[in-house]
C-alpha cells in the first residue's frame, strides 16, 4: 500500500519535473527565437518596425525653415489638399502641429498666417489663387509652405 503510494508520488514528481522543463524550454525557445528573428530582420533591413524613409525628418527640416518667419506664439491656419480622414492628411496635420508648437494650428481657418501642405505645385497654385494667398517660405510641395495673405492692390 505504502509502496504503491510512494511510487505514485515519485511518478507525479517526475511528471511535474518534465512539465517544468518543457515549460522553461517553450518559453526560452520562443523568446530567443522571436527575439533573434527581430534582430535579423533589422540587420537585413527588412524589419517593418524600423522602416523609415526619413519623411518625418524631411518635414521637420522644412518646418525649421518656416519657423524663422513665424511669431513665437499664436494661432496659425492650416490647409491641405488631403483630408483628415486620409492617413497622409492626418499624419501631415499631426506633424505640422508637432513641429510648429508652441503655436496652435487651426485646421481650415484662414488666419493671417497659415501653414499649407499640398501634394503638388498645381494643387498649391490652384489653392493660392482661390484664397488670394502667397507663399512666404518653405516648400516646394509636397513639403509644407508658410502662407500669407497677398497685399491688396491699391485702388487707382
Amino acid at each position: 500500500m505504502d509502496g504503491s503510494r510512494s511510487s505514485r508520488g515519485s511518478e507525479r514528481t517526475r511528471s511535474r519535473a518534465l512539465r517544468e522543463r518543457l515549460s522553461a524550454i517553450l518559453v526560452a525557445g520562443f523568446a530567443l527565437g522571436a527575439g533573434t528573428l527581430s534582430v535579423a530582420q533589422i540587420v537585413r533591413g527588412r524589419s517593418p518596425v524600423t522602416a523609415d524613409n526619413g519623411y518625418v525628418q524631411r518635414i521637420g527640416d522644412s518646418y525649421d525653415v518656416i519657423a524663422r518667419s513665424l511669431p513665437p506664439t499664436g494661432d496659425l491656419g492650416y490647409f491641405s489638399d488631403a483630408s483628415l480622414g486620409e492617413m497622409s492628411g492626418a499624419r501631415d496635420f499631426v506633424l505640422a502641429q508637432y513641429f510648429v508648437t508652441p503655436r496652435i494650428l487651426r485646421y481650415g481657418n484662414d488666419l493671417e498666417l497659415s501653414v499649407g501642405q499640398f501634394a503638388s505645385q498645381e494643387s498649391l497654385d490652384e489653392f493660392l489663387a482661390s484664397r488670394n494667398l502667397v507663399v512666404e517660405s518653405g516648400g516646394p510641395p509636397p513639403l509644407p509652405v508658410l502662407l500669407r495673405h497677398a497685399p491688396r492692390k491699391a485702388v487707382q
Partner: protein, 503 residues
Amino acid sequence: MSFAAGLHLAGRVGATIALLTPPYATALLLLQAARRRADLRLSNGLLITAALALGLGLSAIGFVLWLALPGSDPLHLALVETVALLLAFWLRSGTGAAGAPVFEPMPGGRRPWLALAVGAVVIEASFVFAAVAEARPHGDWDAWAMWNERARFFALDPGHWLDAFRVDVFFHPDYPFLLPAAVARLWTYGAAVRRLEPIVVAALFAAATAGMLFFGLRDRRGRAPAMLAALLLLGGTSRVYGLDSFAHLAATQMADVPIGCYFLASLVLLSGAATERRNAAHLALAGFCLSLAAWTKNEGAAFATIVVLGFALGSRLDRSARGVRETLWLAAGAAPGAAAWLVYKNTLVPSVDLFRGSTAEIVARLAIGDRHAVVAGVLGDVVLKYGAGAYLVAIAAVGLLGIGHRPSWRADWLPLAAVVGLIGVEYLILVMSPFDPDWHARSSIPRLLSQLWPSALFALFLVARVPGGSPEPAFADGSACVANRPRMPSLAVAPEFRDDRAP
C-alpha cells in the same frame, strides 16, 4: 558610428540621466524611509527599480508644480526639487537603522542556462530599442500627436503651458500629461528641445518595468518564474505593427510602456502588501502608483477603480479583519492624484466623446449582438497574433507548470483579476462607443494588451506552481508569502520554503 561619436553620445546620455538624479534620489530615500519606518518590505532590487518608476513620476509632478507657479525660471524648479530631496533625506535619516526589517531573498538554484537566455534577450531587446530609436528619433504617431507635442508646449513656452490644451481635439487635449511633463522637465533643464531626452525617458520606463517584473516575481516566487517572465517580456517579435514588441513599443516614445510600468508597480506592491501585517506603506504606495497610471493615460483611471474595488472585494473573500482599513490606505494613496485628475478632467479640458449620446442610445448599442461579435472577434484575433503568439505561450507555460496552491485572493489572484477586469471594461466601452466597433477595437485592443503585458506576466506566474518546488507554505496566519518575510529563525532556513530548488 565612430568611436568619438559613440563617446559623445554616451556623454550626452549620461548627462541626461544625471538630470534625473534628484527625483530618483528623492524616490529612493522615501522608499528607504518607508522601509525603515513603516516596514515596507522590498528587496534592494525591487527598491531600486520601483524608485526609478516613482522618480520619473515625481519628476513630472515637480515639473507641473513649477509650471503652475508664477514665473518660468528653471532655478525655481531646481528649488522645488531640492526641497523635496531634503525632505526625503530628513525622513530617511530621522528614522535610524534600529528595527529596520531585513529582506530575506529566497534561496535556491540559479539555473545558469535560463540566466544565459535572459542575458541574450536583454541584449536583443536593447538592440531593437536602439535600432527603432535611431530609425525614428521623434518616436511614432502618438509621440508626435500628443506626448512630445505637449512636452514641447511645456518646455518652449512654460508661461503659456495651458495652451497645450487649446489644440484641436484631433490631438486629444483631454489626455493626462505625466509623460510629457517628465520629458519637458529634461528639455527645460537642458534649455533645448532635443531628440535624446524622450528616448532616455522611454528607456528608463522600460528598464523600470523589466526590473520590477523580475524582482517582483523573484521576491514572491523565486528566481525561475522571474526569469521566465523576463524572457517573455523582453524576447519577442511583432505581428501588430510594432505595438506587440515590448522593446519596439518602448522606443516609440508612446505612453503605453509607462502606463504599463505603473500598472505593474501597483500590482507588485499590492500583492506584497497583502502578505504583510503592517502594510499601510505598501498600500499607500500602491495607491500612489495607481494615480500615476491615471495621470499617464486614461486607461489608468479605469484600472485604478478596478483595483481598489477588487481589493475591497478580495478583503471580504479573504475574510480579512482589517479589510476596510487596508482599502482606505490604498484609496488614501491614490486620493491626491485622483482629486487632481478629476479637477483636470472637469475644468481644464473638453470632455471625451466616448460616451456621446443619451443613456438610452448607449444601452441600445450594448444590446446589439453584432457589435459584441465584432469586438470579441478582434479581441480574439489580437490575442492570437500578439507578439507572434506571446500571450498563448505565456498561458501554455503556466498551464504546463500548473496552478499552485494560492489561498489569498488579494496576494495571489488580484493581479490576474485586475488584468482580466480591465480587458472586460475595455470590451464594454468598445461595444458602447459611438464609433465603428471594428475600427475602434483594432486601434484600441493592441494598445491595451501591450499596456497589460508586463502585469499579465506577473499575474500569470504569480498563480503558477513554482518550478522545482513544493506548494508554497503558509504562515501561521494563513498568508502564502514565501519571500518578503522578516528574518525569523524558524522560517528563514526551512527547506520547505525553498521554492526554487533543482528538481
